[in-house]
């Protein structure tokens, strides 16, 4: 089966079949990263540009390793400032890159919709590696891959997503993906972190973490962006840690075999206590491992591979 898509802009645009195709393909790539020689010739001669307008360790490295393990040539471009501040527009930068005939452009940008702009105008495949607070599809795919691997299924699981939903692209992509795959999704956060009409996305909405994680199979904690304190989204990190963190006390409300996830980077002692982050329920580092496999799958499928 082929992925009939030029770009991966968001989970919203993916069907259940397409998500399954990507996850199944990723499953078959997991093994490559465990080999003595972690390289297959699949994408030899293909060029992948990682165009990152926002700081990133995990995602950028993950895409680079994914490309390299498939024998593609990968180029990283980090723009520490936005295209506007830099003086060259995003479109001009991207058209220049296009002129060098890459096969895939991976873009991360602080402005929601930036990957869509490139997808409309450029020939190469565009992968959204996170756009503003909109979507982060590869994160949601790697999360779903991890859940599926650990639990054997996604449908019917109770998943709680806790934190700043309003400003989280990880939350949006996971809500789209998990609800499509049949999970029961709850979100929780103070009202300032819950966007208007979020319930229309098909999630249960709670104002407190304890209600959301009750009997949960999966708890997904979101990173608190410290700059939100200045915008009065919450009063202080101290108060947030006291009332919205996941810790050894409140995790007892969840199922005994609950799994704890976090897209990283974590704020230890803020949204998640160190005991939890490093504890037996945590699968945070497995998420990272699976990120490489999911990105290998996407690069492979977008350049014409069959699942």
């Amino acid at each position: 089966m082929k992925l009939q898509k030029k770009d991966i802009l968001g989970i919203k645009d993916l069907s259940i079949e397409e998500i399954n195709l990507i996850l199944d393909t990723a499953d078959s790539f997991v093994e490559v990263s465990t080999r003595e020689i972690k390289k297959v010739p699949t994408l030899r001669g293909k060029t992948i540009v990682n165009l990152f307008y926002e700081a990133s360790t995990r995602t950028r490295t993950s895409f680079e390793i994914a490309g390299k393990r498939l024998s593609a040539d990968t180029i990283n471009i980090s723009a520490s400032t936005s295209s506007v501040v830099k003086g060259e527009t995003l479109i001009d930068t991207a058209r220049n890159l296009e002129a060098m005939n890459p096969d895939v452009i991976v873009i991360r940008h602080s402005a929601a919709g930036a990957p869509h702009l490139l997808a409309r105008l450029l020939k190469p495949s565009i992968i959204n590696a996170g756009d503003g607070a909109h979507e982060h599809p590869t994160q949601a795919l790697l999360d779903m891959l991890t859940i599926r691997a650990k639990k054997g299924k996604i449908a019917g699981l109770k998943v709680a997503i806790v934190g700043d939903i309003a400003h989280s692209r990880v939350a949006r992509s996971n809500i789209y993906g998990l609800t499509k795959m049949g999970a029961l999704v709850a979100v929780a956060g103070p009202a300032t972190m819950l966007p208007l009409h979020i319930e229309k996305m098909g999630v249960a909405v709670f104002r407190h973490i304890n209600e959301a994680i009750q009997d949960a199979d999966i708890i997904m904690m979101l990173r608190v962006q410290t700059e939100r304190e200045k915008q009065n989204i919450f009063p202080s990190l101290r108060e947030y840690a006291a009332y919205f963190s996941l810790n050894t006390r409140n995790i007892r409300r969840a199922k005994d075999d609950v799994l704890v996830m976090h897209p990283g980077p974590i704020n230890r002692g803020v949204e998640i206590s160190p005991d939890i982050a490093d504890g037996p329920y945590s699968i945070i580092l497995e998420q990272v491992t699976n990120g490489v496999a999911v990105r290998m799958a996407l690069l492979y499928l977008l350049t014409g591979g069959t699942g």
Partner: protein, 446 residues
Amino acid sequence: MNYLLKGGRVVDPSQQLDSCPLDILVERGVIVKLEDNIAKTGAAGRRAKSGDLQVFNLEGMVVAPGLIDMHTHLREPGFEYKETIRTGSEAAVASGFTSIACMPNTNPVNDNRAVTEFIKRKAQECGLVRVYPVATITVGSEGAHLAEFADLKDAGAVAFSDDGKPVMNAGIMRRALEYAASIGMPVISHCEDLNLSAGGLMNEGWIATKLGLPGIPGIAEDIMVARDIALAGFTGTPVHIAHVSTKEAVSLIRNAKTRGIGVTAETAPHYFSLTDEFLEEFDTNGKVNPPLRTPDDLQAIKEGLRDGTIDAIASDHAPHGRTDKEVEFEYASAGISGLETSLALGLRLVEEGALTLTQLIEKMSIMPAKILKIPGGTLRVGSVADITAFDPGMAWTVALPLFRSRGKNSPFGGWALRGKAVLTLVNGEVKYRNPLPLDGGGLGWG
């Protein structure tokens, strides 16, 4: 040249007139006769012989007082790549407008006599449409010190507005209303609480939630509309609310009017034609301030137009260059190039029965004239001949590259619309005629 406009449906709300066929005779720039079947030859062929009478057969056309757009941005001086007074004037006359008011957020801003006079002079050189400068309320539109209202009035400004920005300080807004009223000048308020709208890029609601874009809540507009109504009531002065976009603002204005407060209001065609759903693909042509709202708001705007709560339709013509719009949504300039679709979008309201044709023309001619206290908006015998004729049935497709405006930024590109200006007279002179020859039955375009 004198003109005889024959056989049209003459709709003039200023004299409760809707009559077909009715002829209009224009001599030396003035409407001299409004009668059924005015003879082409006049006094025993005198006019025909002298060759100074041009006859237009306007059968099937609507003939109305010249349309007036009380809210445009002509961008000159300072942003000539977006629009100039000439290109804006060309867009206006070709779209049925005989008068337009232009907002002061140019560079330099129009907060002094020199800029007002510059705009007036440029417009006169173009000689197409009447251009009425709106000057700022505060120096630099910075919200701190009142501009020299009397001097600006003397230079030719017709109203004051910090459009694009609100006057956040209620004390300064109070003084502006009082001082302007004392010299008989209107104040136009851009209602937006900057603390509530801070960082927002589109209407706060379900669509913004899906897109992950920071929202501008409706209340950012409502709270300032409420404030300005309270100020107008307290000071006993009039205030005009620009570009109304929310249901609650309509309700506040409706209520204020029943209490006898001197508030008037305008809305723009995009607020009764589009909702925030347009933005689902991050199309920056739909980025505008105030933002496109919800279907609920759209319905309330239509109802406000119908019941007279909203007095006027103004395009808020905000032309931008490609470089302003072909960027990330967050960095794109807000605004819609609206002059050239305004009439046809208004006619959709007539077609769907939301407004009568008389109401539409009223809101696009006599009402803005009254609010700005400028001439025009009537076809009464003896008045200056600012006249618009349009074909209400002419089907056309909005082709953005064909806009006369430099701003090709419109969310209506590709829309199939009906209704187009065919003849525009300003001061008794033909400033625009549709290049398509009408079937003149021997009279034609003279």
